[in-house]
């Protein structure tokens, strides 16, 4: 059995925990519960007849109160940078974390997730910004942990990239 560690990274309240819950347990809650510390979930996926055990490290959101420890990133095969489409500043946090992650563990596959697609009308990040990031070669997926849209796709896309890396 192949085991792969994947980290969930991003600013606080972007929906990292909700994405993991949606993917692992298929559930969602509208209530925002701030994460403190690290929680690890497991999920088995099958990619081209190959079973892969994903260890999903849901790491607390980065802000002035909590920083992501570099040691949490060690051994990651890939990671998600999660952005709240309705809060532009969370995109900057994502890039800061991406830089720190690359400095710590080198280049590994990652997917940039624009979450909260169900609140599209309130988004501050426009399609052009996302298209430009895609054109720059980043893997970009729009998701809604609430409806489930794009969630499975995001996890499977990253797993595939990890296996091909």
């Amino acid at each position: 059995m192949i085991k792969k560690k994947i980290c969930m990274l991003g600013a606080f309240a972007v929906g990292k925990t909700s994405l993991v819950k949606r993917f692992v347990k298929g559930i969602f809650s509208d209530k925002y519960l701030s994460s403190v510390g690290v929680k690890i979930d497991k999920k088995k996926v099958i990619i081209e007849q190959q079973e892969v055990d994903l260890l999903l490290w849901d790491i607390h959101g980065e802000d002035e109160f909590q920083k992501v420890q570099r040691s949490y990133l060690r051994g990651s095969s890939g990671y998600f940078l999660v952005v709240d489409g309705a809060r532009r500043a969370t995109l900057n946090t994502a890039f800061t974390l991406q830089k720190r992650t690359e400095e710590t563990i080198g280049k590994v596959p990652f997917v940039l997730i624009f979450n909260k697609w169900d609140l599209k009308d309130e988004w501050e990040i426009d399609d052009k910004t996302m298209d430009d990031l895609s054109k720059d070669g980043l893997m970009v997926v729009k998701t809604s942990a609430k409806s489930g849209q794009g969630v499975e796709e995001a996890f499977l896309t990253l797993t595939r990239e990890i296996l091909e890396a």
């Binding site: 309240a13 260890l55 607390h60 909590q66 040691s71 060690r74």
Partner: protein
């Protein structure tokens, strides 16, 4: 202290103490708190050491740092940070591991955070909700400010329209003057808000022409000196129309209307100001206005090739124009050319565009 007291104490502390063995496993020291048995039921009966790493990816990762700490005989404690483990019943427990050295032994502590974790979580939750609310309020302020801004722009547009319906200048000319001025302001390091203001304010530079008689304003030939004296009044009329407002955009528009015919050497009108006594906004607009007038045709004159226009303007450097702004103008000339290309029309009168009310939007 007897064994029972010790057990009570360990339970009370909610901390597991373990010694790291040479084979990489951990031997429990003292009593095992009940909560720990949920994760390692074999902990009490087991003779050999526990392999914590096999059950907890988090501890497996932390043990790498702990090993370095033990080998280096670090002082104090190395803390793992908070992590959450789930027992077989699905209940979550917040813990923190620490590595420490004691009498040559490698010690690992695992502490159940319990209420301390809940308290911290509640504080963070509140703090983050406050941040989210602040972000929401800021966003709301931005939204409403933008709305007010649009209204200001529309009022400005209608004022310009009122003038242009009598003048021979075109909507494209008005638009270009705004965009040239914005480009110059940005290149000079103005704040974005001010640069945005000048884009609109510059368009009102000739608003005072509304007070000039038609026979002078529409005259195809050269003005007599008397007529020219009347024509010069458009600067003061414009300033009069725009003065007294507390809207920064209109205050700037007033400066420009009054000062765009002033010259750096003091030979301009209406007040004959020199150098920096002329508002910078007016000095900026003067350059864009002259450039645009030279390179475009009017009913009373043909357009000059740009190279010729630049020669003419260079003669005015330090006399008509502020040398610093003129230098900046030469530096960003390619931007002026792009604006000219995008808004090259001369035939469309502004009033024809009125229903769209989008004249001042950026391209």
């Amino acid at each position: 202290m007897n064994e029972r007291m010790l057990a009570d104490l360990f339970n009370h502390l909610e901390t597991v103490v373990m010694e790291r063995l040479d084979d990489g496993s951990f031997r429990l020291v003292g009593c095992v708190p009940n909560w720990f048995k949920r994760f390692y039921p074999e902990a009490v009966s087991r003779k050999e050491g526990l392999r914590l790493q096999d059950n907890s990816p988090f501890l497996e990762n932390f043990c790498i740092d702990a090993e370095s700490f033990w080998v280096g005989k670090g002082a104090g404690r190395l803390k793992s940070g908070t992590f959450i483990e789930m027992d077989p019943l699905g209940d979550e427990y917040a813990m923190e591991a620490s590595a420490l050295c004691s009498r040559e032994k490698k010690i690992l502590l695992i502490e159940l955070l319990g209420t301390a974790y809940e308290d911290r979580k509640a504080v963070l939750q509140k703090a983050r909700e406050n941040v989210l609310f602040r972000e929401y309020l800021e966003e709301e302020v931005c939204r409403r400010t933008a709305k007010i801004r649009l209204r200001e722009e529309e009022i400005a547009l209608r004022l310009v329209w009122a003038t242009e319906s009598r003048d021979k200048d075109t909507g494209a000319h008005i638009r270009r003057i705004g965009l040239y001025s914005e480009a110059l302001a940005k290149a000079l390091g103005w704040e974005p808000q001010q640069a945005d203001d000048i884009r609109i304010a510059a368009s009102m530079h000739d608003i005072g022409k509304i007070g000039i008689p038609d026979k002078i304003l529409s005259k195809a030939g050269k003005l007599t000196s008397e007529e020219f004296e009347i024509m010069k009044k458009h600067t003061e009329i414009g300033a009069k129309i725009l003065e007294g407002s507390d809207i920064p955009l209109l205050q700037m528009a007033k400066e420009i209307a009054l000062g765009h015919h002033e010259k750096w050497d003091g030979s301009g009108y209406p007040r004959g100001l020199t150098g920096k006594a002329i508002p910078e906004s007016a000095r900026i607009v003067a350059i864009g206005d002259v450039y645009d007038a030279l390179v475009h045709s009017r009913i009373y004159k043909p357009a000059k090739p740009e190279a010729n226009a630049l020669v003419t303007m260079t003669h005015g450097n330090g006399k008509h124009f502020d040398p610093k702004i003129f230098e900046c103008f030469l530096r960003i000339l390619p931007t002026f050319r792009i604006i000219r290309q995008e808004f090259h029309g001369t035939e469309t009168m502004l009033y024809l565009e009125r229903p769209q009310m989008t004249l001042f939007r950026r391209p």
